[in-house]
Amino acid sequence: GEEVAQTPKHLVRGEGQKAKLYCAPIKGHSYVFWYQQVLKNEFKFLISFQNENVFDETGMPKERFSAKCLPNSPCSLEIQATKLEDSAVYFCASSQSLSYEQYFGPGTRLTVT
């Protein structure tokens, strides 16, 4: 597609429940990035993929967060055992290459209660 698509728009989970977010990058874009934007508007890089391969995961809290980009499937970001501090908007972005701008999806707002 011509836009980055993210589902769902909103997700509410009780503390300790699992949350799974999806992202379909723009067709032809090789790179996918996940970011977390917390209520203070601050962005945190989580993970990047080059096609289906993890490119950089230095921002991922690995004990509870995992992500995949499998061929012919939307990319996913999964949070096991959500905590209150996971409440944020999660953005997915894609780009043709590292030297090109990233195009952002509309985000998924996760609320952990």
Partner: protein, 113 residues
């Protein structure tokens, strides 16, 4: 590692005025890119302008232009003839690596009628 600093949390100007948003950055990369992204209340991230660090010429996009001072590591955004639709959070961003984009904390720009 990269850092981006925006020292103006909020700015307010009258419609049709010119406004400049400040940004400084630090990076150890030789090849990097700088961006300004706009985030209106809808939360959608919109690319405003892009600058390749190896280019001396300042980027311009219609009413938007940058003042890129590489030695000073400064990257300010000028908005001419400001419009009500320019009201948004503006993020100064650096990138070009696998570890995603590095965001400043944002400047909330309000255009008054």
């Amino acid at each position: 590692a990269q850092t981006v600093t925006q020292s103006q949390p909020e700015m307010s100007v009258q419609e049709a005025e010119t406004v400049t948003l400040s940004c400084t950055y630090d990076t150890s990369e030789n090849n990097y890119y700088l961006f300004w992204y706009k985030q209106p209340p809808s939360r959608q991230m919109i690319l405003v302008i892009r600058q390749e660090a190896y280019k001396q010429q300042n980027a311009t996009e219609n009413r938007f232009s940058v003042n890129f001072q590489k030695a000073a590591k400064s990257f300010s955004l000028k908005i001419s003839d400001s419009q009500l639709g320019d009201t948004a959070m503006y993020f100064c961003v650096s990138g070009g690596g696998a570890d995603g984009l590095t965001f400043g904390k944002g400047t909330h720009l309000i255009i008054q009628p």
